[in-house]
């Protein structure tokens, strides 16, 4: 069954997590930053399912954590997009550098 070692799956999810982190560091547009966060959440989900399958096959905790993370990611994306649209209405831009009223 486990012809592919677990560390290779962890390699993929780690690389995906740091890809999302690179996007979060370099982008200054709110929508693309949100997309990077989605990538990071997905890499964590891969980890949960892989650990569940390889190390504790008789349990289901990893699957449930994945389901709850997907649900919370959906809620988070909806709220974030509502905030982005509201910000665009008042500032006519969704660049984080343009919304600095509450910075100091």
């Amino acid at each position: 069954m486990s012809e592919v070692p677990l560390s290779h799956i962890l390699f993929v999810s780690t690389a995906l997590f740091f890809t999302g982190m690179y996007g979060l560091f370099t982008r200054r547009n709110l929508i693309t930053m949100l997309m990077s966060i989605e990538l990071m959440l997905n890499s964590v989900n891969i980890n949960f399912v892989a650990f569940n399958k390889y190390l504790y096959p008789e349990k289901l905790d990893g699957i449930f954590f994945t389901i709850f993370i997907i649900t919370i990611a959906a809620a988070e994306a909806a709220v974030a997009i509502a905030i982005i649209i509201n910000l665009y209405r008042s500032h006519h831009s969704i660049d984080v550098e343009d919304a600095t009223e509450m910075k100091y």
């Binding site: 740091f18 560091f25 982008r27 008789e58």
Partner: protein
């Protein structure tokens, strides 16, 4: 190398290349489409790991819900054909360095730890998942299930309230 392994490496390469394209392209609409492909690849990875339920949820919620929402908000807030301005060189270099260091450090730690797979067969039957989700006894997930559903309801109402346009007379 068996076909099982080759499938895994092909899907992983697809997911990673689409993810990298998604964070580096300068056209925001293309970025969303690359993200869509990457999420589909992750659903393929779930199919490969034999958890069909999570793969179906991934396709329905992420590909059918979140990416469509992101594309709508792109259409609402900017000109999709316009290129985003390039990040300053210093930020790109420091971001890449921080990410490379973090990746090397994390993967070094993962390699040190010896994961021993149990080799038992993984049973992710949907009936089993459903029973555990509504089980109120020890090891059941009915309380988190209800909490998450209340959270989702609160988030939906919150979105409507935030995005609602205030009429000028009420200001």
């Amino acid at each position: 190398m068996t076909g099982y392994q080759i499938t895994f490496y092909l899907i992983s390469a697809f997911v990673l290349s689409m993810g990298i394209l998604s964070v580096t392209t300068r056209k925001i609409f293309r970025s969303a489409i690359w993200l869509l492909f990457s999420l589909m690849g992750i659903a393929g990875l779930y199919f490969w790991m034999d958890v069909q339920f999570i793969a179906a949820v991934q396709i329905v919620v992420y590909v059918g819900g979140i990416v469509v929402l992101i594309i709508f908000s792109i259409f609402l807030t900017q000109q999709s054909g316009k290129e985003m301005e390039k990040a300053p060189l210093g930020r790109t270099i420091f971001g890449a360095l921080a990410v490379l260091f973090g990746f090397a450090f994390t993967y070094f730690l993962i390699q040190q730890y010896d994961f021993t797979a149990t080799g038992k067969l993984f049973d992710s039957d949907v009936a089993r998942i459903g029973n555990a989700m509504l089980n109120t006894e020890q090891g059941g997930y009915s309380l988190p299930f209800e909490v998450v559903s209340i959270l989702l309801l609160a988030a939906m109402i919150g979105c409507i309230v935030i995005a609602l346009k205030i009429k000028p007379t009420e200001k």
